[in-house]
Amino acid sequence: MSRGGRRTYAALSIFAAGALVLSGCSKGGSNASDNNKKDQQNAKRQQASIKFGGAADSTGPAAAVPGAKTGGTLEVLQRDSYAHLDPGQIYVSDEGSLATLIHRGLTGYKATNNKGSGHEVVGDLATDSGTTTDGGKTWKYTLKDGIKFSDGTPITSADFRQTFERLFASFINQGPTYLQQWMADTNGADYRKLLPDGPYKGKHLPNSILETPDSKTVIFHFKTPHPDLPYALAMAGYAVVSKKGDTKEKYDKAPVTTGPYKIQSFKSGKSMVLVKNPNWDPKTDPIRNQYVDQMDFSFNVQYEDSTKALLADTGADQTGISFNNSVDAGNISAVLGGDAAVKARTVAGYQPYVGQININQSHAALQDKTVREAIAYALPITPIIRAFGGSSAAEVAGGYISPTVSGYDASFDPWGKKKNPGGDAAKAKALLKKAGKLGLKLTYGYQNTPEGQQYSTAIAAALKNAGFNVQRQDIPAETYYDQVGKIDNNYDIYASAWGADWPSASTVIPPLFDGRAIADGSPNYSHVNDAKVNADIDAANKISDPVKSAAAWEKIDQYLVKDVINAVPTIDYKQVQIAGSKVGGLVYDDVIGGIDPRRLYIK
């Protein structure tokens, strides 16, 4: 999933002359103490490959959270309202967090400890994480007994047929497309040809692709092995949709849910109320708990506002939380620096995103590898880390694979950025001289946000030092990814960020670097088309052993960073989140990439 497009910035604040009187003194530093070591440990646990659980692991109920009590109302402060509630349309992370409470699919991630670190993929509505006998071409799922929608109707295989067939209908256009592509055995958007109108005009997927022999069995038949299917099915985008209650487009505003909570009311852009779902049976659910009676969401709460409210910890905010708002860059010091009691109310961890500065391979001057090497050496990472709020919000990335993805190699650092994050201008200048390109014009497109303005000036200054003629160009934040996603764009270098869809690099390397998928809007922003990379991607996709495939992906990652140099990895995104003092069960979940909403209780 790409990042950043939807951020809105409220940068206007009023300069009050009276504030001058107060502005006498301030103490130095922002107090953002180093959480690095802990974060690294948090991430390390992730690299240990996630196990695919069997029937015993998939039996409910979920392990109780120590000290948890039932009852109470949780206030949830969110910046963005939920644009989509239909599982098939859910892809972005804030809707993903909500989906953990209301939607269930065939598989899901079960926490194996109370720290948000250990996970295994287990059967959620299915009895196990899936069985395959031919290396991932055929997958068989059996549904559990006693599973129901919130309206009381039992969930059967017919609902799953509906769920997967409607993904081909044209109105489902925001969700993930992995499963559809695997079923149709194509790339890009061609999969829709398999079932152009979904199930709505009487046509259905043949048994050779999706088989539902009885009301409890779902069988997938793929032409090529897809060992990642249990991961993919755990995405909110593949959660079950009620066949009886399928209202097509309208389902997006009022879905029939399956999780421990159901939607009592939803006013888009304003508020949402979740209440307990009486038809949810904890004995069928190995993943979720249901402690809180009710959750009241308010939307349009900016990061500064949620941080200040939760920091103040008064009234309803004592039982307040935000699933997805981070502590804003300006307040990180106030949160982490002072009071130990405040710090105890925070959690921190990695987000799945890794940033990179793309080097446009379509421009002739940049096809010279020495020039790209010079850019890689010259590029400073410190300005980006500074702009996002320091070491608790970002850290130097070695490769494109995030610490939360299996295969991550912490020691990989070909350009010396971890040792010297300010860049190496002298070395870059020497390389540029060698290439005979001193004074080469580089058009640098940056996102016109306060952060973007700040780090782009510093990056431009560093590249200038290294002998480039840098031309900064601002791009409006709202259309940034559309502009840099065009193949024929004017920019030489530009930043982007990408996060894995599940903890395997198979959701990072192919979409970003497969040269055969270059198109307008494709996330291959650097337009790299390297024959060896393409071949290696195909080979890695066929490996069914998770450990071996992780190693293969990391090898491609290192080859790209070190030898192709189509982009320079910049930062691994991190975040700090805060909750009110009466919220218990606070855990940063690596798979969700934020606070785990399924285990919260009111103290």
Partner: protein, 329 residues
């Protein structure tokens, strides 16, 4: 409001001496202590602005160096100076800017320079336009007066702040190739042009009124009768008599334009980083990063701007009093 000769009633001196209106004004101005102090303050600001490159050379720093990368030991990972009070030290007199770590002292004097240069240019343009159109409308009257009057009404009815914000990016993009960075001078010229087009009306209107009143006076009639050309009448008879409102208005316009320019940069449509600018420093000071971690940063740009604007307005008052003692106090 005419600046014609008046009997000198203030002094009961024995010796009668001929003095020009300008001399009288100067004498009265020198007696006004507030005015003199304000004049020195304003002159000091202009001097600092003019000598900014020299000062920064002596001081040994420039406003473009990113000290957060050059001297990383002075900053934490979020770019906030580690030393108390925003990193004020014998080396960095006014401290360092949170974020990229620019030197606040040189940034401030260069920022003042940018803002004052732009405002001065706009003032000159506004005054010239105001004289030309205002006096023409007042003296010629008739259709010319009607059309200029309607143009003034039309432009005055424009929501100028909104127009600035909407038109700045358009004006800028007209001149720049999509592969190149917007050069600073284009932004400067655009800022001047936009403020000029929407800034001359009030002066023109005042001059039109004054001219209209003067036109009917006997000495103009006399000049007309003796066969003077309209150009000569405007130049020799009318212009010297509108100097008072002109000067007074100008001394009020300049600080107004300085705050206007700062406002545009504050909103992000004026001068942008890394070019130093007064208003841009306020916008930096209002970010959460600065408000929470380094409130001292706001002190220098804030205090200097308040001092400048207050001094300039007091100066304007004194100038008016000196020209026109009857309306004073």
């Amino acid at each position: 409001m005419d600046g014609g000769p008046e009997p000198d009633t203030n002094t009961g001196t024995v010796k009668v001496e001929g003095r020009s209106p300008g001399q009288l004004m100067w004498i009265r101005f020198k007696r006004d202590r507030t005015g003199v102090i304000s004049a020195f303050v304003v002159a000091f600001f202009f001097l600092v602005a003019a000598a900014a490159p020299l000062i920064s050379k002596l001081y040994g720093k420039d406003p473009y160096t990113i000290y957060a990368d050059v001297r990383p030991e002075l900053f934490d990972s979020a770019g906030v100076p580690v030393q108390p009070n925003g990193g004020i030290s014998s080396e960095f007199w006014f401290g360092l800017e949170p974020g990229n770590g620019y030197d606040v002292f040189t940034k401030l004097i260069y920022g003042i320079r940018t803002s004052l240069m732009i405002s001065l240019a706009v003032t000159v343009a506004v005054v010239l336009t105001g004289i030309l159109l205002g006096v023409t409308a007042g003296y010629l009257g008739g259709k010319t007066d009607f059309f200029i009057g309607r143009l003034i009404d039309f432009l005055l009815a424009f929501p100028s702040q909104l127009f600035f914000i909407a038109s700045m990016p358009v004006v800028v993009s007209l001149f720049v190739s999509p592969r190149d960075q917007t050069p600073t001078y284009v932004r400067v010229v655009a800022l001047i042009a936009v403020q000029w087009v929407l800034g001359w009306m009030s002066l023109a209107r005042i001059l039109r009124g004054t001219t209209l009143a003067l036109r009917e006076r006997e000495f103009i009639e006399a000049a007309k009768v003796s066969g003077a050309s309209p150009w000569r009448i405007i130049r020799r008879e009318i212009l010297p008599n509108v100097v008072t409102p002109l000067l007074v208005q100008t001394t009020y316009t300049l600080p107004y334009l300085v705050t206007g320019e700062a406002g545009l940069s504050f909103l992000g449509v004026g001068i942008v980083e890394p070019t130093p600018d007064w208003g841009q420093m306020f916008s930096k000071a209002s970010t959460e990063l600065v408000l929470q971690n380094d409130i001292t940063y706001m002190f220098f740009p804030g205090v200097s701007m308040v001092v400048f604007i207050v001094a300039f307005n007091l100066l304007g008052d004194s100038v008016r009093d000196a020209f026109d003692p009857k309306t004073a106090r």
